[in-house]
């Protein structure tokens, strides 16, 4: 059977979405209806994320940091936080650490966070 017309309004390739879905260990088969919907909702998602990032950016150039900001601020986007960290410079990182030290924070969580951030900052070092 050929591809139904309803799928013509999709941009993303169904075959690729199917491959990604099947890479999940719990998925054996994907029927055409759930495949269509997952593809559709992924397009809605990317549109929504881009629009929000653009709205917050206040510029005419959409940059990585605009998207990372939305991701880090919306709890529903928690699943993206690890793949889209905020990038900071070493100077910002040091300021952040100084502030933390001043407040005398020493929870385990914050020390974990800071080690992640320092990795990021070393790759994005501008100082």
């Amino acid at each position: 059977m050929s591809t139904p017309k309803a799928e013509k309004d999709l941009h993303l390739p169904l075959s690729r979405v199917k491959t990604i879905m099947k890479s999940s260990p719990d998925v054996e088969a994907v029927g055409p209806e759930p495949l269509y919907l997952v593809t559709k909702v992924t397009e809605l998602f990317v549109t929504d994320l881009a629009k929000r990032a653009y709205k917050n950016s206040g510029t005419n150039v959409l940059e990585y940091k605009h998207i990372a900001d939305v991701v880090q601020e919306d709890d529903n986007l928690d699943f993206l936080r690890e793949i889209m960290p905020r990038k900071i410079t070493v100077r910002q990182f040091k300021e952040l650490m100084a502030k933390k030290a001043a407040r005398g924070e020493r929870s385990d969580e914050s020390s974990e966070d800071s080690s992640e951030e320092s990795e990021e900052s070393s790759s994005d070092n501008q100082d």
């Binding site: 059977m1 591809t3 139904p4 017309k5 309803a6 799928e7 941009h11 993303l12 390739p13 169904l14 075959s15 690729r16 979405v17 199917k18 491959t19 990604i20 879905m21 099947k22 890479s23 999940s24 719990d26 998925v27 088969a29 994907v30 029927g31 055409p32 209806e33 759930p34 495949l35 269509y36 919907l37 997952v38 559709k40 909702v41 992924t42 397009e43 809605l44 998602f45 990317v46 549109t47 929504d48 994320l49 881009a50 629009k51 990032a53 653009y54 005419n60 150039v61 959409l62 940059e63 990585y64 605009h66 998207i67 990372a68 991701v71 529903n76 699943f79 993206l80 793949i83 889209m84």
Partner: protein
């Protein structure tokens, strides 16, 4: 099956096209932003898939259905996508049934294979 690692990513050019259509004309999108959005979209596919398979398991369903994908939206708190998605599902179902009644071939058990254009 995924043969190469790139097969687990959505194509950058297609994601960029979707984003460009969503934003006002003249807005430029940095390369890093494009890659980031494509990556986010790919991870989203898996996120939705796992939310949906959770429902399949919990409710002891046999297979993934369109309705389960819709229910999964609620679980991951993307309720705002439910309405547009329900509309899409309706359109899709209408088209499929129109095709079935219009075509000579009867609906058999043979799973439908969807190929790329």
């Amino acid at each position: 099956m995924a043969e190469k690692l790139e097969d687990l990513n959505l194509p950058l050019t297609v994601v960029t096209r979707i984003v460009k259509e969503a934003l006002p004309e003249g807005v430029s999108i940095s390369k890093e932003a494009r890659t980031g959005l494509a990556k986010a979209a790919s991870v989203f596919v898996l996120y939705v898939t796992s939310a949906a398979t959770n429902i399949v398991e919990k409710k002891k369903k046999k297979a993934l259905t369109g309705q389960i994908v819709l229910d999964a939206m609620k679980d991951i708190e993307f309720d705002r996508f439910i309405e547009p998605l329900t509309q899409s599902l309706e359109q899709y179902k209408q088209l499929m049934s129109a095709r079935k009644s219009g075509g000579k071939k009867k609906d058999d058990d043979e799973p439908e294979v969807i190929e790329d254009d």
